[in-house]
Amino acid sequence: MISRYRRRRLLNAFNLTMAVLATAFGLFWLVWILWTTIRFGAGAVNTALFTQDTPAPGASGGGLRNAFVGSLILLGMAVAIGAPVGVLAGTWLAEFAARRRLGAVVRFLNDILLSAPSIVIGLFAYAIIVDPSGRFSAYSGGVALALILIPVVVRTTDEMLRLVPGSLREAAIALGTPYWKLVTRITWKAAASGILTGILLGIARISGETAPLLFTALNNQYWSTDLGHPIANLPVVIFQFAMSPYTNWQSMAWAGAFIAVAFILLLNLVARMLLGRRRPRA
């Protein structure tokens, strides 16, 4: 009996130690990746990075100005399209379809879209915009990113609106408020911080997306703000520069990576603070 008891205790101790080690293992990668990004990236950040455009192969100097601006334009387009669409669709799910079968189906498919590979979304944008129009363009990249943003916003809007207490709606209805006004003036307002968080998390998700841009916005070595033409953007520039044999390109890629990661972590932090404990599963 003693030996059996001891065996159980040993097994327990061993497996629990493994669980602690597994946690340490997971955190180890996080620290390793962040530390490398800071080590190689922070040192490579300088003013030229923000004032000059991407250099030609082999040329020294240069910066990532066109890539930063291009990325901001793409993000702006994605939010301009994706945020209203996502909020409206999420509103329908929470306010009009909460207990309907159709709502459950839409919610289910939206979750699939949320996890669908971004490269497939990029190919879709290629198929519906780039191929018919005959050329790569900034707006096709914006649409691709919007398609990735939308399911994130739909999901958080839906979840946040469903957290709004029913008594609030009942009170408004008792006063004779029309339903559209109830939604736009009361429940949207009550869930505003949650919906905003969803949009921020969505932006964090798309600001590092590279694969869909390879077939849509492509890249541009020069300064361009023309939406009908290929546009420089940070992820694709990082991809191109990190794969290159030039050391100055590689260090610029690290600087870009550092800024991208800092931006994304900041968005996540703000989202977390906005939301406090009512965090949805993403």
Binding site: L11, N12, N15, L16, A19, V20, L21, A22, G26, L27, W29, L30, T36, V85, L88, A89, T91, A98, V106, F108, N110, I112, L113, S115, A116, P117, I119, V120, I121, L123, A127, I128, L147, V154, L161, R162, V164, G166, R169, E170, P178, Y179, W180, A204, G208, T210, A211, L214, P235, F239, A242, A253, W254, A257, V261, I264, L265, N268, R281, A282
Partner: protein, 323 residues
């Protein structure tokens, strides 16, 4: 939970109100349907674009290992195998680690430690794929390359299985890509495992503890059986992510368009070959073959994700009961 108020009732007071309410409901509903229909749109658009390749090669496309842009002869098998193998390696790494993390967070960590550890693990999911790829190529692969001679000598010496672990120590390759993929999907699997472990009824756990069960025995014989469906769902969700992951794999997998027995050799996945070759695809058939690969990837991930969500419906129900 929202109260169910039909438009008719609230609109009984006036005609203009009825139209605005109905309009609002119809408009948001139309947009929600549009979002949903984009899934069908993806399927239709990709099928149309890949039709030339599918028509030319037929079912043979799925089982052919040819990938020759010069003679315009294409097959998907090399990339399907690469995608599946790298994802399986990722799961082999991610499942035990995620289980350990979830167990630590739900059963072992003091309450104040739960939230920070959860948040840190979730941060792994926030780091973009491109950063994983760049880090993998420039930092992880050289380090892993130093480890590979050891893998060669020890794992490579095992009979039968040994062939999987023999090859030049290049760092990049199928195994390295699988490991990085595994790290990338840990947060997704761990988050779901943690959530379901936390909603396992306390009374169930306590009765096992009262019988003298150890923490491990409670985890193994009470929590795991109780949460099996959702845990499987979480694993499928991680698999769905791994299958479609692009940039990290493109950097690390080595991009060789042939099959090799060894996991240390370079390979290719569906996503990596599309990312690498799409802009270089000059002929119509070449581009169409790449889009056909995209269609295959979409169909595979769609099936995996549907399975995952069906299994996870149980989790939503459990949380609903708790709430």
């Amino acid at each position: 939970m929202p109260v169910k108020v039909t438009a008719q009732r609230s609109a009984a007071a006036g005609g203009s109100r009825l139209s605005l309410d109905v309009l609002f409901r119809k408009f948001t509903g139309a947009i929600a349907l549009l979002v949903t229909l984009s899934l069908a749109g993806i399927l239709i658009a990709l099928t149309r674009e890949s039709w030339p390749a599918l028509h030319r090669f037929g079912w043979h496309f799925l089982i052919s290992t040819a990938w020759d842009p010069v003679s315009d002869n294409y097959g998907a098998l090399v990339f399907i195998v690469g995608t599946v193998v790298s994802s399986v390696i990722a799961l082999l790494l991610a499942i035990p680690v995620s289980f350990g993390i979830a167990l630590f967070i739900s059963e072992m960590a003091p309450r104040w430690l739960r939230e920070p550890v959860s948040a840190a693990v979730e941060l792994l999911a926030a780091i973009p794929s491109i950063i994983y790829g760049m880090w993998g190529l420039l930092v992880f692969a050289p380090w892993f390359g130093n480890l590979e001679p050891w893998i060669n000598d020890h794992l490579g010496a095992i009979p039968w299985l040994g062939a999987l672990f023999q090859g030049p120590p290049m760092g990049i390759g199928m195994l390295a890509a699988g490991i990085v993929l595994g790290v990338m999907i840990i947060p997704f699997i761990a988050a779901i495992m943690r959530d379901v472990f936390l909603v396992t009824p306390q009374a169930l756990k306590e009765s096992a503890y009262a019988m003298g069960a150890t923490t491990w025995e409670v985890a193994r014989y009470v929590i795991l059986p109780y949460t099996r469906t959702a845990v499987t769902g979480g694993i499928f969700l991680g698999l769905g992510r791994a299958l479609g992951e692009t940039m990290a794999v493109t950097f690390i997998i080595g991009n060789a368009n042939n099959l090799s027995a060894s996991l240390l050799m370079p390979g290719s996945s569906i996503a990596s070959v599309i990312a690498n070759e799409f802009t270089e695809a000059t002929t119509h058939l070449y581009k169409s073959a790449l889009l056909a690969l995209g269609l295959i990837l979409f169909v595979i991930t769609f099936v995996v994700l549907v399975l995952a969500k069906l299994l996870l419906l149980r989790l939503d129900r459990m949380e609903g009961r708790r709430a």
